[in-house]
């Protein structure tokens, strides 16, 4: 057995233009979401006089730090609809973008370790099927068939009582996704501007008319924020308060191994999630640190806990070495669902609050956000995720329900 070689990619994927004085649309943040928004603004709406401003380097934020799990097995109808739309887009994007970003539909197993887990999981499988999302409930023997290295013995501290399986779920090569979107957006005329930090907003009364940056003022017809963990810091500069809290979320990888792990395994109860990257690293994540933070690093006890869980579930990992750990800053909302849509400031739109799970949503986030920015109206898939829900009380409470514990 050998691991898969990564595809070659061209040397130059986008221009590096200086900012122009004015654009129809300025997007803040060149993560996956900002890039997908620019791509769909150009492709679906013909709006190409667009700049994506990035304070660091393109896709160097959470886009470069996540564990790349893609799935749509969310409990609630609104969530299932938007994440399943994303999964449908993922399935056709490699061809559409003409870029093999190694979208691998190897399936995702969400394990159940308690009777309550089992009931919640079976309920989610039924909800998924009603929403046209592929999902199966597997007993421990069936779990072991999907992932033979998993320890399904009844003698562990938290035995595997079964799991839900979404066969169409999987992983993708995150950097390549960003580069693929960036190349196409650039080709259609979008300016991708790195090293350009938005430091303030230009306003005319209660309307935004541009942004202040470390590279000067840039006028804009409309401004879209896609700044993930820094959304509230940015929104505050526009005079808006957002109901998000920023938390460190960590991940780690082992050194390279032969292919041993054929799917993605997630467990809330013992809290670890594991897949094997295309090159062969074991990629693991766990929960957020409970406290707020912007330091792009997290607490060691979280890593200890996740490693203990991983080794109990996968005894074969006991002798693997951790090669690298890192953290990203994720913005978490009170109902664990994202915010997409208008803000109290005219012509200023926000896409944020994706918390620990926004990578999988990348194409749908871009699709719906582009629609909102282009038309000034919410997209039907994005409408339930408007900021107003915290005032009306129409929350989309995916805490726990979404098959993650945070």
């Amino acid at each position: 057995m050998t691991t898969e070689p990564l595809p070659e990619h061209p040397d130059f994927l986008w221009r590096n233009p200086d900012p122009r004085p004015s654009y129809d649309v300025v997007i803040v943040g060149a993560g996956g979401h900002g890039l997908a928004t620019a791509y769909y603004l150009a492709k679906n709406h013909g709006i190409t006089n667009v700049a994506v401003l990035e304070k660091g380097w393109l896709a160097g934020g959470n886009m470069a730090r996540n564990t790349t799990i893609i799935r749509s097995n969310y409990l609630l109808d609104e969530s299932a609809a938007i994440y399943e739309h994303a999964l449908g887009l993922w399935e056709r994007l490699p061809e559409e973008l003409d870029y093999d970003f190694l979208f691998s539909q190897r399936g995702v197993l969400n394990l159940a370790h308690t009777l309550q887990d089992v009931r919640e999981s079976v309920r989610r499988v039924n909800a998924n099927r009603l929403n046209g999302v592929d999902a199966d409930w597997l007993d421990p023997d069936e779990v072991a068939k999907v992932c033979p290295i998993l320890n399904v013995s009844p003698d562990t501290r938290y035995p595997v009582l079964g799991g839900t399986f979404q066969p169409r779920a999987g992983i993708a090569k995150h950097d390549h996704v960003a580069w693929a979107l960036a190349r196409r957006a650039d080709e259609m005329g979008v300016d991708l501007i790195q090293g350009c930090e938005v430091t303030g907003f230009l306003k005319d009364g209660d309307r935004v008319v541009g942004v202040e940056t470390n590279r000067g003022r840039i006028n804009a017809g409309r401004v879209g924020l896609a700044a993930a963990g820094h959304s509230s810091v940015l929104a505050e500069k526009a005079g808006i308060r957002l109901p998000v809290q920023s938390h460190p979320l960590q991940a780690l990888v082992s050194e390279l191994h032969e292919p041993v792990h054929p799917t993605v395994v997630m467990s809330n109860h013992v809290h670890v999630y594991v897949s094997q990257a295309h090159k062969g690293e074991l990629v693991m994540g766990a929960g957020v640190d409970t406290y707020n933070g912007y330091g792009q690093r997290g607490s060691f006890h979280v890593i200890e806990h996740q490693m203990a869980a991983a080794v109990e579930l996968f005894p074969v990992f006991a002798r693997a070495h951790v090669l690298r750990t890192w953290g990203g800053i994720v913005d978490v909302t009170p109902d664990a669902s994202p915010i997409i849509g208008a803000t109290p400031v005219e012509n200023l739109y926000v896409n944020c609050g994706w918390g620990t799970g926004g990578f999988k949503a990348t194409p749908a986030a871009g699709w719906t956000f582009a629609h909102t920015i282009a038309t000034g109206e919410p997209h039907s898939l994005g409408a339930p995720f408007a900021l107003e829900r915290f005032t009306t009380g129409a929350l989309i409470d995916e805490h726990g329900a979404a098959a993650v514990a945070h």
């Binding site: 109901p243 933070g293 060691f300 006890h301 009306t392």
Partner: protein
């Protein structure tokens, strides 16, 4: 791992504590007069600063009491901890016993 000083028990590892979010968020007065927006502010909106943040912690594995901490959300340094009945310390003011 953070080292946090409980005002009653002294310095202990972060794992002994439970995080409680922003401190000094008073229950609203005249609740009957609040509109939905104001209720939303109280229930769902919290500050999320980059820098010093006054927040609540509970010493779950110790005295089980709530207290407040001033912590920098970028460096994670715990700048001060204090009892819930004490005001937020003014870090700009010189501490007793000289300049800090």
């Amino acid at each position: 791992m953070l080292l946090i000083t409980c005002p009653w028990c002294g310095p202990r590892d972060e794992t002994e504590y439970h995080y409680g979010g922003q401190a000094h968020v008073p229950y609203p007065e005249n609740t009957a007069d609040l509109d939905d927006r104001q209720w939303a502010e109280y229930v769902f909106y919290r500050d999320n600063p980059k820098g010093p943040f006054a927040e609540r912690w509970m010493h779950g594995h110790g005295c089980r009491r709530w207290f407040n901490a001033l912590r920098d959300t970028v460096t994670y340094e715990v700048l001060a901890t204090y009892r819930p009945d004490e005001p937020r310390p003014d870090l700009a003011a010189p501490a007793a016993g000289g300049e800090r």
